[in-house]
Symmetry: C2
DNA sequence: GTCGCGCTTGCAAGCGCGTGCAAAGCGAAC
DNA sequence: GTTCGCTTTGCACGCGCTTGCAAGCGCGAC
């Protein structure tokens, strides 16, 4: 318990020889203060090291300026990239990011949202997991905005930002066929989130339409290790696939490493690989991975814009949903058709 | 401006038929409430969806529960790993993490600290950059704890957590010599932070003592691309180094990729490489990098412990400084001696 | 029956701030 | 000099909460 030593508006007022209201108004954009008063207040504030107490301000204004970011696996390249973009844009919008880490345990997201409520966050952005419907309702009733990124929930109210996962799956299938691949495969994790499943379904559908079957394997998380295991499973099959779409770049990295170092395969000559996310490592020359770029910046922009505009309650539900396009980044892990 | 719809203690009190104080006490650990009252309050709170307003609580208690994390380059593997560990441990300690992104611009860290002050953060943890002395003082005067990680500042007051960078440099020099390396080099960035320079100096000192000279190059940031450039510069020298210590793993990854794919060198046969940080990618089979592990967990533990114990003002200044050991992780990028 | 003790409970003050309201100040217009 | 209109200023209240204080209550001991 720190002794209360933060300097308050009262002290500034006394030093500047004005009323406390004058101090308050000086730090409230748009309030009516004469140039002279403002100057004296600012001088006193500077000298004393005064900074407006946003806790108290939030109490009055009923608007804390806090936005809660709810996310698991922060240390993952894609997640941390998105996080970075979000925090930067939030800062530029005058908000401050509060950060809650979730694990995969039940109710973890719910607890995170309760934390957001306790701090009266203006909004919460959910990058992982799905909250319980009741708590979502509580948030919305409390006037808290909600953004779901790649979550694909059907509750009305939150802003939902999604990608064209299904179509991307289709696009890459075509690319594999053009490259002359005969045996396609999809390497997925067991997570089974809507985005991952969308890619899978789109890939299978397009391949089928093109007259090719797709082998699907699902294992573990969306990380590097799972990619290695998937490679072991797939590359030992009687009919070895020669075109593999991995649900994420990390899976692809693990897959490629195993394919090359354990199976001695050459990419893209003997095996074509594609990923999804366009994490930094995808561009490293060890991988040189053809992949889909998550429009991280656009996602963040959309999310922050929604918070800023204060999105009307009465606008049509369609307005609460945004679909962005994942851009295909062509590198060297698929043969040129 | 959300209409005030958060439910307050008052409403809970009315519904439960008790006074507002009773509600407050129910949610204050250690306060005196009868089992019966507590039960009725909890029921009412549950029904109404009440959550204590931590903004108001912070105002009274003069303790917000907020800890501010100040960091640049969040999307970098090492940073995000540390961040992850910190947020998890903070959460377990009942704190909540507030997140401020800094760029490399002047005063960026100072602005971040001001943000921390505005929200009356109980503490700030600085992972990047260095604050101005005046603002550090202001923080301390205001009763805010400060933690500097790998920052090596000499101001008294903050807790300083550092590694044995110098000694690590020495250890790896020995390893190179044992592996039979004849021409050593140190690949550094231009950042020139104390930790990077410590590794450099320790490496040079040990190598010199062992009778070897060290070529030093510094370029760019601590990232992959800089590693590539450094490889280009170093591997085209007349006397090509055969043992290279890279200041960070990312540099090492870039260096290795260039060495293999551009110069056709085989690692560790023709070239030994070591890094620092032990980021996840270091363990990938494409790199299989011998490196030093940052004791991320221990760093976080130390930082959080310091916040919890409320560190006495009057304890000796030495207690404000912690030195941790980086563990050498032996993989395959250095020949066995 | 009375007293005293310990646990509960309500009252009220106050944390630092924003803001409506009315009084004050000031200059221009007549 | 008076009036009008606009800007600036201070007062006082309230945001939702914690907490010291004193009153209330139940109960066993005498």
């Amino acid at each position: 318990m720190p002794s209360k030593l933060f300097v308050s508006a009262q002290e500034v007022a006394e030093r500047a020889g004005v009323s406390r209201s004058a101090v308050s108004r000086t730090f409230t954009p748009g309030a009516s203060v004469s140039a002279d008063t403002r100057r004296r207040v600012l001088e006193a504030a500077e000298a004393l090291g005064y900074h407006v107490n946003h806790l108290a301000r939030g109490l009055m204004r009923n608007e804390s300026g806090i936005v809660c970011l709810i996310v698991s696996d922060v240390a993952t390249p894609y997640r941390s990239a998105l996080l970075r973009e979000l925090t930067i844009q939030l800062q530029n919008a005058g908000k401050v990011a509060m950060f809650v880490n979730t694990d995969r345990s039940d109710g973890s997201v719910d607890r995170a949202l309760q934390q957001a409520i306790r701090y009266r966050a203006d909004a919460s952005i959910i990058l992982s997991g799905l909250p319980d419907k009741s708590i979502t309702q509580l948030c919305l009733r409390s006037g808290q905005r909600l953004v779901l990124i790649n979550r694909d929930d059907d509750q009305p109210g939150p802003l939902k930002i999604n990608l064209d996962d299904y179509e991307s799956g289709g696009r890459i299938a075509t690319a594999f066929v053009r490259a002359g691949c005969k045996t396609l495969a999809f390497a997925n994790s067991e997570a089974g989130t809507p985005s991952l499943m969308g890619r899978e379904r789109g890939f299978i559908a397009a391949a089928t339409k093109l007259g090719l079957e797709v082998v699907v394997e699902r294992y573990g998380s969306t990380g590097y290790e799972a990619g290695r295991v998937l490679a072991q499973r797939m590359l030992t099959r009687a009919e070895r696939p020669d075109g593999v779409f991995c649900a994420t770049d990390l899976l692809a990295c693990g897959f490629m490493d195993a394919a090359r170092h354990q199976f001695g395969l050459s990419i893209p000559d003997q095996l074509c690989v594609a990923g999804f996310d366009d994490i930094e490592q995808a561009s490293w020359s060890s991988f040189n991975l053809t992949t889909f770029a998550q429009p991280v910046m656009a996602i963040a922009t959309q999310a922050v814009k929604w918070l800023a505009t204060g999105g009307n309650e009465d606008e049509p539900e369609e307005a609460h949903s945004v679909r962005l396009k994942a851009e295909l980044i062509w590198r060297g892990s698929i043969r040129k058709g």
